[in-house]
Symmetry: C2
Subunit: 415 residues, 2 copies
């Protein structure tokens, strides 16, 4: 007997027919003798509808009331799945965020789970009753409803799995796993059987939107074995596995370890260049301190070699959605920084190669630069971490870069 | 300063534009110096949508999970109205059924309110914060969500008003008050300024669907002054009043008291005649005991004069929706009852004249029978209470009967 958490996203919960398919999947795990908790999202489109109501009611809505409104979507699907499970002969009941309770911080609309009370849940599971838990919601210390931010149901599922000491947390979604890269760009991309938490964090944060980043961080911290798999297909690998397992590095044996695990890309960055910044101590701080103060995340930074004039150009990237705010902040700080001009550019993309294998292998970055150079792709900025090399390139070259790198690192599936 | 409860139905909450109008109405009461609690329904159509999901998920759904699903509609409108009030400059917050809490019985889908904890609510009102409370919902002793049955938000409003010792409970709806009869049938029907609880109970239960019957009973028991008025119009009577006030008999002075307050009709009854029932002790009990056991409400009963053969015909009415079940029950009990044939008839209507004034006046029933007889309308059954006389007639004559009675009792408005 194992304890497992199954999480289903909005596409899997969109309408009663699909909820019945979910119930059948859960029944299979129960019939196999497992204790099961299910975490559900709202029906696809429902959260958008509810968020739309709040925005229409007031541009500056109270986040506490927003949470009351938007948390209702998961409440509905929890009750409906419990009904569908019972109809399939599986004992089940819903446990709302305030009923368990799932305690969170009071940062409404982006709360963090602090503690899940297992008393009621343990008793329910021990009696063989499937617990259906709405994702995305909890309550704060003063008993008000909170939500975790968009995509928060993944985090709910991992948190429940950690609290339950679950053997596995299965995230059912509309893709059948994590791929070496986006299969729409590279048809010969391969599904990965296993990937480490750290690789998944890098792949997720640079554009592979399979799981909410925060949920992967939590799984790593709590050692929760997460599996990503399709709600709609039952296809298995040659080795009999379904989906992609996200685990600690120690669970991946050397034989199957690749140098590079995947290639990610992200078109949602914007590049800003400040020209002729005076080359004196503190000038760089004068740029980035006000941006940090405004809560804007700066990613890649390049400081060019100083001109003979005693000034330098500084280039960096920010999320494209923050570009207007970034420009406002920098124009406000212009006198303090001292620059000649501000040149924004949204026609850029970040392409990254990711893999824990590169820790023990030199030459990964060199292969990347050579491969891109041979195709005439100019590199505008570079950033590296222990398991990742990212480059900023002109947006039009994104797909070409991903394809040639996928081949260069030997990731293409056999024909 | 007064304490008032304002309740808004689904049509008043249908969409953000209308919720803003509701917020403006609430603001007016707050600006007048009142402490206000607002009870809201779900958006028009939303509860039907949610009930539809439950039925689609399983014909025999768990009422506890049904309550989780359908209570979400009022949760959404509570949060949205709180946001709209804040946007209008009125301090406000939502209090969900489990937050106050509103304690109910555990009869899921038709629970009764048992106690409303006023601790949090009193503190909030004392600080000048409008409390927005979802109607229709509560929690039972084991902390599960309950709902009160369709139309239950009226009962929530009256219960909150009783707990708050409110000076008034204003029920905003899509009509501007209670009329002497249905204005679609009698254009010269008059809006009543005041009506007693008992009259309202009789008018509501025989077809004037302005308020949930249970809410009127609760208002009578708790002495809550209820006012029914329009969400959409501000029209006032000649004497400056809006809507209809529902109060105790002692508040209606003799001058304004009418003999008859109103004429109601109900086409949702079905008539059943059992022929040649043996005229022996216990034969009538053999008919009605199994119907009571099946939870079917029998309304009017006529036992005809015994035939010389020692048998009698028994006629009675049940709600039309229960007709099929009634026939099943009676056919199952046929041997025990002993009857020749069962004759159902759904082409009947019940017409009632209602008024506390008839307590002290004889002749009300006689006027009714004479008036109908003069028009050739045959009376199939009669039922009376202290303040009501009802007759069963052929359905096609309903409107004619209502019109002639309205005139006969002097209820027509001046031209």
């Amino acid at each position: 007997m194992a304890r497992i958490v199954m999480k289903f996203g909005g596409t899997s919960m969109a309408g009663i027919e699909r909820i019945r398919i979910v119930a059948a999947r859960v029944k299979r795990e129960v019939d196999a003798g497992n204790q099961v908790a299910v975490v559900v999202s709202a029906m696809a489109g429902e959260t958008d509808r509810l968020v739309g109501f709040c925005r229409e009611a007031s541009a500056r809505y109270d986040a506490r009331e927003y949470d009351v409104v938007v948390s209702s979507g998961e409440q509905v699907t929890s009750g409906l799945l419990a009904i569908a499970l019972q109809a399939a002969g599986v004992p089940a009941r819903s446990w709302l965020g305030w009923q368990l309770p799932i305690g969170t911080s009071d940062a409404h609309a982006s709360a963090r789970i602090e503690a899940i009370d297992m008393t009621a849940l343990d008793a329910s599971l021990a009696q063989g009753v499937v617990a259906v838990i709405p994702g995305f919601q909890g309550i704060d210390g003063s008993g008000r409803v909170t939500t975790l931010g968009r995509g928060g149901s993944d985090t709910s599922a991992v948190a429940v799995a950690a609290a339950m000491k679950a053997d596995r947390c299965d995230i059912y979604t509309d893709v059948d796993g994590v791929y070496t890269t986006d299969p729409r760009i590279v048809p010969r991309a391969r599904k990965l059987s296993r990937v480490t938490y750290e690789e998944m964090l890098e792949l997720a944060s640079v554009g592979a939107k399979v799981l909410q980043t925060r949920s992967v961080g939590l799984a790593m911290k709590e050692g929760v074995r997460v599996r990503v798999l399709s709600s709609f297909e039952d296809a298995r690998d040659d080795d009999g596995h379904r989906g992609t397992l996200i685990v600690g590095e120690e669970e991946i044996d050397d034989m199957e370890r690749q140098l590079i695990t995947g290639i990610a890309h992200d078109k949602n960055e914007a590049k800003i260049t400040l020209t002729q910044v005076s080359d004196r101590p503190g000038s760089v701080a004068a740029i980035f301190a006000p941006l940090a103060g405004a809560g804007i995340n700066v990613d890649m930074i390049v400081q060019n070699i100083a001109h003979s004039t005693g000034s330098t150009d500084v280039t960096f990237t920010v999320p494209a959605v923050d570009l207007t705010r970034t420009i406002d902040v920098l124009e406000g700080a212009r006198d303090n920084i001292g620059y000649a001009s501000l040149v924004p550019d949204t026609h850029v993309a970040k392409v990254s190669v990711v893999g824990v294998g590169m820790r023990s292998h030199a030459g990964v970055a060199a292969t990347m630069f050579t491969t891109l150079g041979e195709r005439g792709i100019n590199i505008q900025a570079i950033a590296t971490s222990e398991i990742k090399v990212s480059v900023l390139i002109e947006e039009d070259y994104t797909e070409l870069a991903v394809r040639v790198l996928h081949t260069a690192y030997g990731l293409d599936a056999a024909e």
